[in-house]
Every structure is written in structure tokens, then in C-alpha cells.
């Protein structure tokens, strides 16, 4: 009799949005070993950024690394190239950029929560969160003209100004969403079946969070205060009311709560930004070609994103290196899978909010 069975998850599976393959070696549905294969989405963007596209176009190309955190990629690239070109942006541009980043974070977190609920068989919650998410999508569409790929940021500023109508819409929708998030926190904390499904499942301890290089909400749920927004001052996060949110146990339940509370914090930031917007130019003129190198760190919805740019004074960049949060979360993910049930695997996977198109580029 065979003792271990191998259960494949992917590369096409109903609980997966993107192609990634896990091979779970299981004993009686208990996972003993995990084999993973993440390279299905590799397209060769880093190479193309240095050979095919000019430095002004790269911003739009790196946005297509990942649709969920598109604005973060463009943002990190733009900040990097602005550092090389020595462009100083004004307060309004910074504020508009943070606004878009935080709106993106809200929609990404809500999607992750919905996906986790769906993967744990909670269809009612999935529909509820996806319904609420449309409020943010509306704001995004009103501001940038597209629902997912914003193409809002460009070198030297932003592409569009925010109109008074948009501002009004954003205020009403954010206030509505704030109430709905409160309601969601209540629903997530007081459900018998989600407690069975989420509490103490897929837990990452505080030490392991450091050992396995966890980032973003994953680390913060374990109590590790890792957040680029607090560490770097490249964008004025402290002015707009940023607050670090920490969990304790690092299980799915805590991750959900951290995400929900971060959404609340993001909503607060957006409201502060919208009420504190000043008049000003939205585009700074610049001249010259980039020459030099830069390192940029930025907090994506999933954790720290890192860009290394190297330019040699021509229209083409010499090197673009992207390090994405999911890439460094994979060892932690594998560690958590070991010892948990296969029945929990899809929910754990979704609660990590993995982004394979980020990882493989």
C-alpha cells in the first residue's frame, strides 16, 4: 500500500487565479512536503525594459508586471528614475500619488479577503466583499479612467488632475466603505465556521517571520513591525496619518484582521489627503537623459517592492532589477504548508495573497 499520495494544485485550478503549481505530498490529507513551481508566468520583462523600451515607456510596461499592484510598480520605477534625473516633485503630486497607492491597497486587500473567503467555501462572504469592492473600483475609474491598470503616474508627476466631482464621489464612497469594513470585522470575528477554518491555521510565528524573510501583511500579522511606509521618507506617509497595524498569532484569522484594519487606515489616509489637497502643478518639466543608478523601496499591498535601476545616459536603461514581495514569501509559505491539512491549503494560499506574475515577471 502506498503511504504518501501526491496532490497537485495547479497550474490550472479553480482556486487559483494565476498559474502556479504546488505538489503536496500528503499522508492522509496531512501535508508532509511541498514542491513548488512558479515560473509559468515568466515573460522576460526585465530584459525587454532594457532592450525594447525607452526609459519613458518603461513605466507603462512595468505596470503590466502585475495588475493588482500595478501602480506600485510604476510608482517605484518613477521614483527611481526621478532620483537619477534629479527631479523634485511638489506636495500635490506626492499627495495624489499616495492617494492612488492607498486606493490600490484597499482594492487589493479586499480582493484578497474575498478570495480567501471563496477558497474556504464561504460564497456569501465572497459576494459581499466583491460587492463592496466596487465602491473603490468606482473611485479608481473616476480618477484614472480605468478600473485596474491606472497608468496614473508618469515621470515628473501624474497624468491627470483630480476633479471636484471625483473628490465628491471619493468622499461618499470612502465613508460608505468605512462602515462596511466595520461590519466585515464584526462578521469575520463572530462566525463559528470561519473560526474553525481560520484560527490557528497556517500560523507563522514571530521568529519565523524574521527567519523566512516575511514581508507585508504576512509579517505584520505575526507581530513583526516591517513596513516600508514607516521606514522610508520618500513619500510623506507620516503627514497623512499612517499607523502601523500589528497582529499577534500570524494565522489566517490575524492576517484577515490586519488587512481589514489596514483598509480602515488607508481609508483614513485617503480622506486626509482629499481634504488636504492644495493647488499646484501636476507635472514637473524635466530635461536630459538619465545617468546613474538608484535603489527604490516601496510598500506594495503585499509587502516591500524593490527596484534597482541603472542608466548610462542614453534613452535605454542598462539594467532594471525588480524584487517583488511574493518572491521572498515563498520559503515561509512552504514552511507553513508543511503539517497543515490539504483542506486548508487553498485558503492558506489565498491568505498569502500570492502574486505569481510579480514573482516570475
Amino acid at each position: 500500500m502506498k503511504k504518501t499520495i501526491t496532490i497537485p494544485l495547479g497550474s490550472q485550478h479553480i482556486s487559483l487565479l494565476e498559474p502556479v503549481r504546488f505538489n503536496f505530498s500528503c499522508e492522509n490529507e496531512k501535508i508532509t512536503d511541498v514542491d513548488y513551481n512558479v515560473g509559468f508566468v515568466h515573460r522576460g520583462i526585465e530584459k525587454a525594459c532594457t532592450e525594447k523600451f525607452e526609459y519613458k515607456q518603461v513605466g507603462y510596461v512595468v505596470a503590466r508586471v502585475c495588475g493588482l499592484c500595478a501602480i506600485t510598480h510604476t510608482m517605484a520605477y518613477t521614483l527611481g528614475i526621478e532620483h537619477i534625473l534629479n527631479i523634485k516633485t511638489n506636495k500635490k503630486i506626492d499627495y495624489l500619488r499616495i492617494l492612488m497607492l492607498e486606493l490600490d491597497r484597499i482594492h487589493s486587500h479586499l480582493l484578497c479577503l474575498a478570495h480567501t473567503a471563496e477558497n474556504s467555501g464561504f460564497e456569501g462572504m465572497f459576494m459581499k466583499i466583491m460587492g463592496d469592492r466596487e465602491l473603490v473600483m468606482d473611485i479608481q475609474e473616476a480618477i484614472s479612467g480605468n478600473r485596474v491598470q491606472f497608468d496614473f503616474v508618469c515621470i515628473g508627476g501624474v497624468n491627470r488632475d483630480i476633479s471636484t466631482e471625483c473628490e465628491k464621489l471619493a468622499f461618499t464612497n470612502l465613508a460608505l466603505l468605512d462602515k462596511k469594513v466595520d461590519d466585515l470585522i464584526g462578521k469575520f470575528t463572530s462566525n463559528w465556521s470561519t473560526a474553525l477554518k481560520y484560527k490557528n491555521i497556517g500560523a507563522l510565528s514571530y521568529d519565523d517571520a524574521f527567519n523566512f524573510n516575511a514581508l507585508g501583511p504576512l509579517a505584520r500579522a505575526a507581530g513583526a513591525a516591517i513596513d516600508v511606509r514607516a521606514e522610508s521618507s520618500i513619500l510623506p506617509y507620516k503627514e497623512v496619518g499612517y499607523k502601523m497595524i500589528l497582529g499577534q498569532n500570524g494565522d489566517i484569522y490575524d492576517r484577515n484582521l490586519v488587512r481589514l484594519k489596514e483598509i480602515k487606515n488607508s481609508i483614513l489616509m485617503c480622506q486626509n489627503i482629499l481634504s488636504g489637497l492644495t493647488e499646484g502643478e501636476i507635472l514637473v518639466k524635466f530635461k536630459g537623459k538619465p545617468n546613474g543608478e538608484s535603489f527604490t523601496r516601496l510598500e506594495a499591498p503585499r509587502g516591500e517592492i524593490f527596484y534597482y535601476l541603472n542608466a548610462n545616459g542614453t534613452n535605454m536603461l542598462q539594467r532594471v532589477r525588480i524584487k517583488t514581495p511574493t518572491f521572498s514569501q515563498i520559503p515561509g509559505m512552504v514552511e507553513i504548508f508543511k503539517g497543515s491539512d490539504y483542506a486548508d491549503a487553498p485558503a492558506i494560499l489565498a491568505s498569502f495573497d500570492p502574486c505569481m506574475s510579480c514573482t516570475a515577471k
Binding site: K56, Y60, N146, D151, G186, K187, S190
Partner: protein, 104 residues
């Protein structure tokens, strides 16, 4: 669980959020980034849009006459609007309409 049950029950009598789309239109926001449109009469043939387009969706094909022929592939376009922003005669020669691209 009780909260969810109460909400599910009250939803039975609430109005549904669904937009009956193919039969009734969805209200779009202003400045929706739709199809790129072009007017040959106004174009000054600086080829800036061709140069700047990331996926090369806009191509000026060489012809026997003096001016080249504008060709645009909506299936290749990523609707970023970079061509429009770089056009010296924005809104006259090249503009981003609010039309949906056609499905084939």
C-alpha cells in the same frame, strides 16, 4: 454567524445591486480611457505617437504619396493614452474617446 444569517435574510427583500448589462447600459465615468481616435486632416505627421507607443499599436505605414498612412490596432493597444499626451495637436489630431473597443 447570526449576523450573516440576519443579513442574508434581509437581503431577500432588498433591491439587488445587479446592473442588467447587455439589456441596459452601464453609466460610465467622465474621461474613460477608451479607443484612440485619429483625424488625418489635422495630423502634422510628426510620428511622435508612433515613437512613444509602448506596444507599437500605432504604426505609420509608408505609402507612395508624401504622407504615410496611419494604422491603429485596437487589439494591441494598452489604452495608456501616452500617444495622446505626446501629440502636439492633442484633441484635434489624436484623442482618447470614451467609446468601447469593438469585439471581434
Amino acid at each position: 454567524m447570526i449576523k450573516s444569517i440576519i443579513e442574508s435574510f434581509s437581503n431577500l427583500f432588498a433591491k439587488s445591486e445587479t446592473i442588467n448589462y447587455p439589456y441596459e447600459q452601464i453609466a460610465k465615468f467622465k474621461n474613460y480611457r477608451g479607443l484612440i481616435e485619429y483625424s488625418a486632416d489635422e495630423c502634422i505627421f510628426c510620428y511622435k505617437c508612433e515613437k512613444v507607443c509602448p506596444p507599437d499599436a500605432i504604426v505609420f505605414k509608408p505609402t507612395k504619396e508624401k504622407n504615410r498612412l496611419y494604422e491603429y490596432n485596437p487589439n494591441l493597444c494598452i489604452y495608456c493614452g501616452e500617444c495622446v499626451r505626446n501629440c502636439p495637436k492633442e484633441d484635434l489630431a489624436l484623442w482618447q474617446s470614451e467609446k468601447k473597443p469593438k469585439i471581434i
